[in-house]
Symmetry: C2
Subunit: 106 residues, 2 copies
DNA sequence: AGCATATTTGACTAATTTACCAAGAAGAAT
DNA sequence: ATTCTTCTTGGTAAATTAGTCAAATATGCT
């Protein structure tokens, strides 16, 4: 990583902020399996419909999901596949931490 | 990514939350060049000293940095190198977005 | 037109997060 | 001992964010 401008730093932190909510991660995880309507996502998350709608709006503003409207429904899909790479790396880090914790107990 | 438990989702989102602040990213970026004392980090960020100290405490709790106390000073260093990978990916995503935006203007 | 379904938006509340200030703690220097 | 430096912590005010409910919008159906 070279010199980071204040502006870039701000943008990066905002992306992370969008990813810093379990419900939004759940939504993205669900979308990984393919396009979903709002109602399908509501069912997958057990949160209220307006709430999910707002989270989706946020994800869309951040450019992480795409929205397609057809008839009555809105279909959402992943717009930035790199997010799964991010999650995988973090999961790896968490697994490593756990391993270390277990080793220190032994 | 396989099935994600609610618990793991929560942990992952918390890691992202820690990374979702420009000052903390600046600190981490500074630490990428090597160990630093609190005061050096204050100088690098132009934020107040207590504020940096709190951000450092947060980063430490999250397991992202390591703290070593020697004499009067506390030396901080990177504990989870994977964070730079994360930032690189996000930067790549941002660059891609920008490119797309520029293309659509042309 | 009138009703039903799917989704978004606005107003509001509660919770979380950030930054600031002042005070505290720990070590080094005199 | 006391004073200086470095760092951490507690209290608090301001800002941001998540959630809920109710109302609005948009489309499809009869």
């Amino acid at each position: 990583m070279k010199q980071m401008s204040e502006a870039l730093l701000g943008e990066v932190s905002q992306k992370f902020k969008v990813l810093s909510d379990p419900i939004r991660l759940r939504i993205l995880h669900e979308l990984q399996a393919g396009e979903r309507t709002v109602n399908e996502l509501v069912a997958a998350t057990r949160s209220s419909q307006p709430n999910i709608s707002k989270h989706l709006a946020l994800l869309k503003t951040a450019g992480l999901v795409h929205r397609r409207k057809q008839g009555n429904q809105a279909y959402f899909s992943i717009a930035a596949p790199y997010i799964f790479e991010l999650c995988d790396i973090v999961c790896g880090g968490i697994a490593e931490e756990l391993e270390k914790k277990n080793q220190s107990l032994a």
